[in-house]
Each structure stands twice: as structure tokens, then as C-alpha cells.
């Protein structure tokens, strides 16, 4: 018998998978497609999952890889179809507008700001700050050395700090 994934755990992991997919794709609909593809891949590769290990981190790793592949394909297609293929993020970040169900401006601002980060930095930031994964686990998810994770995190936070400073700067000039 091939090992099976624990269904209740997979369902329990869904909200977090969905959230991670939104962070990766920046688009609510594409995020759900990515979750679906990730789950299909997880079932295919279920013999590789070690029972008792952290299912969430394993699923994040699969999702990261599925996304990297799809992103590469989309980017190639885009380059082929447009002569000046200089758009940086295929599809772009569309989360902020939809996700501001709360009327709190600073939360909307946070979403806009993380949307401006390169995807690999955004990923590290969310996995560390929101999912609270260990840096080693994040390194495994992204398939990079831990030093890369830490420098990505540092750059992400540095950029965000500058963005916040830019937001506040014009006020000082007016005064």
C-alpha cells in the first residue's frame, strides 16, 4: 500500500496554502488554481512525504516549486507574445484592492508594499513573519542556503522601511 496523506490535515492546511498562494501569485483566482495544482502534485508525490513530519512545510515546498515552474512558463510565453517583453511580474499584484475588507488604511498600505517586493523576498518575509517557519525550513522550501534566506529577509525589511519612510517624507516637505 502506498502511503496516504492524512485528509483532515490536508483540509486543515488549506487556508494557509491559499494564503501562501495569494502571496506568491498576487491574484486571488490564480492563487486557487495554484492550490489545486499543488494538491494534485502532493497526491502524486505522497510517497515522499514522511509521516509525522510537518505537512505544512512540505506543502509549501511543493507549492513553491509548482509556482516557480508556472512562473517561468508564463514569462516565456509573455516574452514570445510581446515584442517588448519588459513587464516584470506576469499578471502583477492585484491583492491589495480586494483584500481591504477592513477599512484600516495602514493594512491596505502593508499589502501594497509587500506587493512591490520581488516574489522571493516577499515569500521569505511571509514565511518568517506570518507563518513563523524556522529559517532552515524556509531555506528548504525555497531550495536555497539559509544565508540566502537571511539576506532576502534583510533586504525585504530594508525595502519596506524605505517605502514607509517615503510615504512619510512628503509630509515633512509640506510642513
Amino acid at each position: 500500500m502506498s502511503p496516504t496523506l492524512p485528509n483532515p490535515d490536508l483540509v486543515a492546511a488549506l487556508p494557509r496554502l491559499r494564503r501562501y498562494a495569494r502571496v506568491l501569485t498576487g491574484d486571488v483566482n490564480r492563487a486557487d488554481d495554484l492550490v489545486q495544482d499543488t494538491l494534485a502534485r502532493a497526491w502524486e508525490k505522497r510517497s515522499l512525504w514522511q509521516a509525522g513530519s510537518d505537512l505544512r512545510a512540505w506543502l509549501f515546498t511543493i507549492m513553491h516549486n509548482v509556482h516557480v515552474n508556472q512562473y517561468a512558463i508564463r514569462k516565456r510565453r509573455q516574452a514570445e507574445s510581446s515584442l517588448d517583453g519588459d513587464e516584470e511580474t506576469p499578471g502583477g499584484w492585484q491583492i491589495a484592492v480586494r483584500a481591504t475588507q477592513s477599512d484600516r488604511v495602514e493594512l491596505a498600505e502593508v499589502l501594497v508594499q509587500i506587493g512591490r517586493l520581488p516574489v522571493e523576498q516577499r515569500e521569505v518575509l511571509i514565511l518568517a513573519a506570518v507563518e513563523e517557519l524556522r529559517y532552515e525550513e524556509i531555506a528548504r522550501v525555497q531550495g536555497v542556503p539559509i544565508g540566502t534566506v537571511m539576506s532576502r529577509l534583510n533586504r525585504a525589511r530594508e525595502k519596506l522601511r524605505r517605502m514607509s519612510a517615503d510615504v512619510q517624507a512628503p509630509l515633512k516637505v509640506v510642513k
Binding site: 483540509v11 487556508p15 489545486q36 505537512l55 529577509l153
Partner: protein, 265 residues
């Protein structure tokens, strides 16, 4: 005495990634230096903002297709339906529909409301009982042995109420509180100025993630918390952060000593 602290150390410290001894050393440098402390506070505030922005997504109802894809390796793979006989397909989708309907129902019920994090529960529990003048605890410290025995029995593992007398906090008593899946325990302490701090302990059945020390400010209550061997510990109070941190370290060390002592029951 003081150790050099890099940007990576600062990040790792705020993210609770450092082992306790290293965290303590970095904490001493960071919290003692206004520039460092401000940077740490900014990162912490941003982490909290991120969670506030992204946590509501977790309680959104899940689309049926995703629950289907999570519960079965086959029925929801694209294109499979085409190979089935139409009659069988209808029967199958009916069954699946019923099953999914059931699952969706469960999931929606489970997901209603914003999830309460461990540190938030600790802070809210502290705020609720620490302000109670008459009945902050169910069993008072004069019956400490009975208290610890009772809570250990209810939580199904051996608890300890570490002594904090040497830092001026005496045990007031403790109580049982509702947890996520299983109940939690609260030990309350008080100093001569009637300031109260509480140690909240909760063990969930599943894979809780181990963490180093983390700090959170929840509704004005400071919380230092850590998760060790599926068991979450949180020290909450309205003390200043360095004071709370030093007591948290003490608690951590004493619990570790009690755990490994041969007199362990």
C-alpha cells in the same frame, strides 16, 4: 560582556529564531541600545501589521473544489470524469457532492471568526483574571500542591508552578482555562506593588511549532512566549519588556530544570 549584533541577529531575534541563551545575549544588547531597540520595535510592529492584514484570509470560506482536491487524489483531478460512464458519473458526483457539502459545512463552522493565536489567548486570559480582585484564581497558593496536581490531571501532563519569589513575585494561585483543543492552565503571580503576571500553559495535540522566545503586545498586555515539545508557555503582564523578559528567562530555565530533575513525577 556585550556581543556584536548583526542585521541577521536582529532579524532572528525578533522572529524568535535564536536559541534561548543566544536570544538572551542579543536581547540584552538590542533592548539596551535605543537605536537597536527602535529597529527591533519597527520590525515587530511590521510583523504584527502583516499578520493583521493576512490573518483574516484564513477565515474565509473555502471553495468546494479545493476541499475536494484536498480530500481525494482522484475525484477532482481534471478530466477524469470524461472516462467514466455517464450514469456512474452522476451517481459518483452525487456522493461526492454530499460528502463535500458535509465537509464544507464542518470547515465553515471551524473557520468562523478570526483565529486566536496562542499569544493572544494568553494575553486575553491574563487581562481577564489579573484584574479580578476577588477571584483571580480557582485554587489559591496555600494549596499549591493540590493546585498543581489538579491542573496536571486536567491537562494530562505534569505541570510545574516555578517559584519566582526571588524576583519578588509570589504565587497567587491558578485556574483551568479553555484552550484550543485541550484545556490550558494559568498560574498567577503578584509582587508587593500588587502587579500581577501570569504564566499560561497549553498543550495541543498536534504538531505545534517549536519557537524561541517571542514577544507580542496584545491589547496593551506584553507577552513573552515560547513553544517547546508541543507545549506553549506564555508569560503575560503589564511590566516593561526587559523586566518581563528577564522573568521569562527565569521561568524557562526553572521549568527546564524541573523537567530534567530526577524528582519528576
Amino acid at each position: 560582556m556585550s556581543v556584536p549584533v548583526s542585521d541577521d541577529d536582529l532579524n532572528a531575534y525578533v522572529d524568535g529564531q535564536l536559541p534561548p541563551e543566544r536570544a538572551a545575549r542579543v536581547a540584552a544588547v538590542v533592548e539596551g541600545d535605543p537605536a537597536f531597540a527602535a529597529r527591533a520595535a519597527a520590525i515587530r510592529a511590521h510583523n504584527a501589521q502583516l499578520r493583521n492584514a493576512l490573518d483574516p484570509w484564513l477565515s474565509e470560506p473555502l471553495p468546494r473544489e479545493l476541499i475536494g482536491a484536498a480530500t481525494s487524489s482522484k475525484s477532482h483531478r481534471r478530466g477524469l470524469g470524461r472516462r467514466l460512464l455517464p450514469v456512474l458519473a452522476t451517481a459518483a458526483s452525487l456522493c461526492i457532492g454530499v460528502a463535500i457539502g458535509w465537509l464544507v459545512r464542518g470547515e465553515v463552522l471551524q473557520q468562523a471568526g478570526t483565529p486566536v493565536t496562542f499569544q493572544r489567548q494568553a494575553a486575553l486570559t491574563h487581562a481577564l483574571y489579573a484584574t479580578d480582585a476577588n477571584r483571580p484564581v480557582e485554587i489559591w497558593a496555600n494549596e499549591e500542591e493540590r493546585l498543581v496536581r489538579w491542573l496536571s490531571k486536567r491537562l494530562s501532563f505534569q505541570l510545574h508552578a516555578p517559584s519566582l519569589n526571588d524576583v519578588g513575585f509570589a504565587l497567587v494561585g491558578g485556574r483551568l482555562v479553555a484552550g484550543n483543543e485541550k484545556p490550558g492552565a494559568l498560574f498567577m503571580y503578584e509582587n508587593a506593588d500588587k502587579q500581577r503576571i501570569s504564566l499560561f500553559v497549553r498543550k495541543d495535540g498536534e504538531h505545534s511549532r517549536e519557537t524561541g522566545f517571542r514577544y507580542a503586545l496584545e491589547d496593551g498586555v506584553g507577552v513573552f512566549y515560547w513553544i517547546d515539545d508541543n507545549c506553549g508557555y506564555a508569560l503575560s503582564g503589564n511590566l516593561d519588556r526587559t523586566q518581563l523578559l528577564s522573568i521569562a528567562h527565569l521561568v524557562y530555565g526553572r521549568l527546564a530544570a524541573l523537567e530534567s530533575s530526577p524528582s519528576k513525577q
